[in-house]
Amino acid sequence: MNPFAAVGRVVLAFFAETGRITLFTATALRHCVIPPLYLRLLFRQMLVVGYYSLPVVGLTALFTGMVLALQIYIGSSRFNAESAVATIVVIGLTRELGPVLSGLMVAGRVASAMAAEIGTMRVTEQIDALTTLSTNPFKYLVVPRLIATTLALPLLVLVADIIGVMGGYLVGIHKLGFNPASYLHNTFDFLQTLDVVSGLVKATVFGFLIALMGCYHGFHSRGGAQGVGKATTDAVVSSSILILVANYFVTELFFAQ
């Protein structure tokens, strides 16, 4: 066992994988702009990704908003800054926790389903069947998922922001004894457009990454049930990691402004 060979293999495999993902992304994007676009499938994916994710994303946001209010109250009360609770809750949610937690929940729900469905289609030759029926599998399978998830995630995050703030509000009023009017006042007075917009930009990027990883791993799965299982795991893990990495870089992009 030569340690250099082992390291070399890992490095080569990494670059090979990066190259494959880049090519896959380029092909997918090219097919996004070349007609035909399957609108029926696009709407169906919007429904599956967007609408059916609402309960999961809503519950995540509700409890995150609630716990945020409690924790910030504990912290801020140590230096008599309890009035900052509402402001920090809304900024924390819109800039950071709304998009990241929604992204991770949707990654678990959607990237896995995409990888499993497309992966099963791959190993049962359904993708080859599409090709022989004069239908491009990128156009039929990848493009609708990519566009739908990229569009749906910002909308989901907008809903998550609202529900999260409501969670904070409920705890603030009923548990911490804030005055409703002043809590709402503090929520909206210091909120800037950029706080919300930066979160929605993040959500757009995350949505793209989720669908890309789900489709990529499904498309390249091989070897029966075990291969599909691996593709599903890889899709969730890689999309979650990419969300966290991309989160930093998008935050840095907006930091200067």
């Binding site: 049962t124 359904q126 080859d128 069947a129 022989t132 004069s134 239908t135």
Partner: protein, 264 residues
């Protein structure tokens, strides 16, 4: 060879010198094969001898390392994606596991090539799908079911209906009877022969089921270790004078053929 070609015209499919390797494993090692217009050629051979890879190379699902594949005299190796789509319109394919789309109903599966590939109106495509289902012995009520509700033999019939729905000039059958009981297998064979005759299509099939091969073939070619080792009319298969062919058609464990353990 020139004389033969002059008599029968350009072969529908002409494969020459096709090589393909996956890693170190050589799967196709210089395949030469012509399929004449209107002919039914069956390729026989053991598992892992490159039958499926050859079929997929002709369809462009696998890219050969070298060699030439011509369809109606047009070179298809290295063809652009859009030109490939035009060539594929001539083809229909019956997959080994049927490969029906489980998110669609049976009639949508059959009509898929008409609706997506040929931009036909759904209502019109539906009528054709019901008609094609009738040709494979299935009633219109089956059209509303989902493929997962059907037995393996029924799925094969639907897959056959899907393969012939666009009335292709060339039809490929990938192990059409594998996994079916002998009676159902014979029904599928009869349907294949009837459908092909009705369309006048050129067909290329791969199988290791000799009963099926004898029934649907005009000519039989045997592939072994990535090469065509015998090729002749179906009537001559029993006196091929080739030990490999003899061993295969009689299904003997002893003989010149040793089966590979690893997949290509």
């Amino acid at each position: 060879m020139t004389d033969l070609r002059a008599m029968t015209g350009t072969p529908k499919i002409a494969v020459s010198g096709v090589h393909k390797r996956f890693g170190k494993k050589v799967v196709l090692d210089g395949v030469d094969l012509d399929v004449a217009r209107g002919q039914s050629l069956v390729i026989i051979g053991g598992s892992g001898t490159g039958k499926s890879v050859l079929l997929k190379s002709i369809l462009g699902l696998v890219r050969p390392d070298s060699g030439s594949i011509k369809v109606d005299g047009v070179e298809t190796v290295g063809m652009s994606a859009s030109a490939r789509e035009d060539v594929l319109r001539k083809f229909g394919m019956l997959f080994q596991g049927s490969a029906l789309f489980d998110s669609l109903t049976v009639w949508e599966n059959v009509a898929f090539g008409l609706v997506q590939g040929r931009k036909m109106k759904r209502a019109q495509a539906r009528d054709i799908a019901i008609e094609k289902l009738g040709q494979v012995g299935l009633g219109p009520e089956v059209g509303e079911l989902s493929p997962s509700e059907l037995s393996g033999g029924m799925q094969k019939r639907v897959a056959l209906a899907r393969a012939i729905a666009t009335e292709p000039e060339i039809i490929f059958f990938d192990e059409p009877t594998t996994g079916l009981d002998p009676i159902t297998a014979d029904v599928i064979n009869d349907l294949i022969v009837a459908c092909v005759k009705r369309l006048g299509a050129t067909t290329l099939s791969i199988t290791h089921d000799m009963a099926s091969a004898r029934k649907i073939a005009d000519r039989i070619a045997m592939i072994y270790k990535g090469r065509i080792i015998w090729n002749g009319p179906v009537a001559e298969i029993d006196r091929s004078g080739n030990d490999y062919v003899d061993q295969f058609i009689h299904g003997r464990a002893d003989g010149p053929i040793k089966m590979d353990v690893l997949k290509p």
